[in-house]
Every structure is written in C-alpha cells, then in structure tokens.
Amino acid sequence: MIARSPMHRYCIYYYPPSLFLLIMGWFIMRIPYQHVSASRTHLILSTITMPSSRAHLLSMRQSCFSFCCTTSNMTCRNMSCFAKPNMYQPSKRTISKQQYSSAAAAAAATKRKKIPKQLESPEVIYSNNHLLVVNKPAGWKSQPGNGGGSSSSSEIDPKCLLTYLKSQSLGGGSNKDFLIPTHRLDQPCTGVLIFAKNGKAASRVQTAWAKRKIKKTYWVVVEGNSQTTSKRNDKMNGLDMLIKQSTRTKAKNIYKLSAILKSTKGNNRRGNRRTNNNNAGGSVLVKPLPPNYFSLSDENSKDGRVCHIEWKHLRALSGERHLLSVSTDTGKSAFVLFCLVLLCVQYEDSTTWLLYLAFIRLCLTAFAPHALIYVTITSLSSS
C-alpha cells in the first residue's frame, strides 16, 4: 500500500526506539525555548522601542511601574482571511442622497429611542491619498452588518464607521467615498483603525496583515482580584492569577499567556448551545495551557488554535485595575529569528546538537510541523 523507503524505517510506526528518541527530543527542545524566546523579545525591543531609561525615571517618580512595550505583533494567522477581497470588500453601491436623508432620519429616531447621547466622532490620525487612519471611539462598528463580514444588509447602519466616514467624504476616488477596511476592531473597543483609499494600498496592507508583518499593540485595563494571595505588596498586586498562568520570558516584565481558542460561532448557528454554558455568553471557547507550554506548532487542530499573547505591566491604576500592554504573538518570521538568535547567542559554548536544534527550528518554519518530529528522529538516530 504505502511505498517503503529507507527513511521510513525511522518513522515512529516502524522503529520502536524512535518513541524514546521522540520524547528525548521533546525534552531537549523545551530547554532552550525560553532562552530563545526571551532573546527574541529583547532583540525586538531594542530595535523598536524607545530606551527604557525614561520608563525607569517614570517608575521612580510614581512608585508604580510603567514601561513601554511594542512587541512584535504578528497578528494571528487567521486574520489572513481579511486579505480575501471577496470577503472584505465593502458594498460598492452608491447611496443616493434620499437614502442618506432617510438613513439620517432613521438614525436620529433610533438615537432618540435607544442611545441617549451621540457617538463620539472619530479622530483622524492620518490621511493622504493612500490611507486613512482613524482613532475609533467606542460604540462604532468597524464594518457594516453584525460582524460576520457580510456587507449585504439592506438598511444603513447608523453606527457603522465605514458608512460614516464615506458620508464625511473622507474616502478616496473622485466621489471621495472609496474606502476599504483593512482590519477590524470590536464594537465596544477603541483604537487605531486603518482604511485604504485605493485598491493598491488596500492590497498591500492586506498582504502585510496576511503575512503578519504588522505590529499591533493593545492597551487594556484589567481587573485584578481583590483578595490577593501574594504576600509581597508590589506593583503587580492583584495580578497573581494572571502571572501564575503566564510564562515569564527573559525580557524584563514581559509575560506570555497561552491557550487554545476555539470559536463556537459555527456551533451557535446550528443551534448548539452546549458551549455557551461553559463560556458565559462569549463566543470563544478557551482552554488554558499551563505555563511553559511548548507547542510543536501554532497550527490549528480540531480542538482549536493555539494562541499566545504577550503582556506587559504598564501601570497600576486605582482599585485593583492595571494598565497592560498586550500584543498577540508569534508568526513564522519570529521562529526564524529564534534560530538566528540561538545561533548568535549560544554558538560559543554550544556543542553540535545546539546547531542541530537550530536547524530543527528552521525546519519547523520551513516545512510541516510534523516534519519536526521526523527530523528529530533522523538526526538523533544517525548521530
């Protein structure tokens, strides 16, 4: 049935000691991982962010810790779906003035009924003939529809930022209404939102998203637990649960939190409400991973997708609240960087197996995740 090759002997199915080697290999892989990821973050921090001495000054002044963090955020792989134009093109139909006035009337009516105060108008951060960058206030939808990506709803949504910006003639083209969203933000969230004003800019930005070349940093305010169990009274007071679940990277004050995420949207559509009970109304099912977890890959599995975020404490606020800087993590390019850093940092005192390791890491980026196992086995057994 399956053609046998000499290499095939080393496959786990045919070579009994390979299971042992596999486990050994896994342990070996685990050890330098922390070093590597930490160095990587250091490297990126040193290249991108401002010197941290300023932050030190600030922390001395205010007896709370503040820090700058602009970690490399290669957004989650699945954001690549935004790059698909068919999914993300706004509706091309031009809206007549009558429709606009009726929409405005409808908007006014709904606002009178439901929303006591008007939505804050978005602040334009940057605009030229290619891009429009706005600071989205809370409450605006970044795209029409219910967030499902469909722009075919018949009524004009008064809370849709895209429609609003078009009506303000902030778009490109001759009618000043050509705008393509390149990513999105949740409705109650705020922050930088980039629109493209022509097709060329849109495709380039969307390609960058898909390749995870865009760095995005979130700032969040989290609620710590009030009855803290940690004895020491320090700046991170109340965040001990979060720290306990996170992996400490070697870079200062950057922690990494991992979990398997699974969207339950599809289940809900089919009327399966089972997942809602576990999840308190959220549409994402989360399975936490223990700290120091090392995944062979960030690929999807049936259980969901392994997701990482890196967070950094910026400042303690009143109560048990804390301002954190968060970035989502690890694209393939980061892995290549792992290898390079490993080679640079540990070359001097390394033995050949460290180089092997780097090679294996490289293989991980280049080939299928399962190829990693294969390479480990073959390299160990041949040496």
């Binding site: 399956i2 053609a3 090759s5 095939h8 300023r54 932050a55 600030l58 699945n78 954001m79 690549s80 779906c81 290619h130 600071n135 206030p137 809370a138 409450g139 949740d186 969230c189 705020t190 930088v192 939102l193 980039i194 380039r204 070349k213 760095k215 995005k216 940093t217 979130y218 700032w219 969040v220 305010v221 989290v222 609620e223 710590g224 637990n225 109340g238 649960m241 679940q245 996170s246 991992s258 576990n278 999840n279 308190a280 109304g281 959220g282 994402v284 989360v286 399975k287 936490p288 690929e299 999807n300 975020i309 606020l317 009143s318 609240r321 954190l324 968060v326 080939f367 995740p369 294969y374």
Partner: protein, 116 residues
C-alpha cells in the same frame, strides 16, 4: 514516494478559518482570569470547566458608563508596506491616543501615558 502519515501538512488548512475572534479578551479573562474592565461578556462569569475555585481572579460586575470595553488598539505599525510618499511607515507606527473617557473611568489621561 514517501507517503508517511506524519506528513499531514495539507490537512492543516489554516487559511480558511475565521479570525481569532476576541483573542485578547478571551485569553485575559478566561485563561488569565484578569478580565478587561467593562467586558461583561467574558468577565462576568468564570469558566468553571477548568477552575475549581471560581472566586479567584478578577471579575467584572459593572459595565463602564458608555458600555465600552477597555481595550484600546494603541499602535499599529506597517513596516513592510511601501506606498508612494509614505516612507515614514517603515519606522513610525500610527499611535492612537487613549480615549478621553478613561480619565473618568480610570483616572488616566493621554498626558500621563505619553512618555511610556
């Protein structure tokens, strides 16, 4: 040809799945047990499937006054995008100032955090 069952690369089709929705919100609230302020959706109820002691960790009981979630996309940088007349993209990110309402909610304003 090598037809090992270890090579399942093409089964790992990740290009057609929806985005990691609510990634930050869900991870912080459910995995880290420190929900984002105002995020009633994830912060109000703990995922009891994985934790025995549901009283541990932070909790969101009250929405913020304007119904927002305290998640702010602070900066986006596009170092690889090349467009005419936009060479600054390579090293300058777009930075959005934090919402003015955070002054009321958390007593923090843009002037406080500009240096960070």
């Amino acid at each position: 040809m090598l037809q090992s069952p270890l090579f399942h690369r093409h089964n790992c089709d990740n290009a057609h799945l929806p985005g990691a929705k609510h990634q930050v919100r869900a991870l912080l609230a459910l995995a880290g047990k420190s929900p984002i302020s105002g995020d009633l959706r994830y912060g109000n109820n703990h995922n009891t499937q994985f934790y025995n002691n549901a009283s541990e960790g932070g909790r969101v009981d009250q929405p913020l006054l304007d119904g927002s979630v305290a998640l702010h996309a602070r900066s986006v940088s596009l170092p690889t995008v090349s467009l005419g007349g936009m060479e600054f993209l390579k090293d300058e990110p777009f930075v959005g100032s934090i919402p003015s309402r955070w002054k009321d909610f958390f007593d923090i304003s843009e002037d406080d955090v500009r240096q960070i």
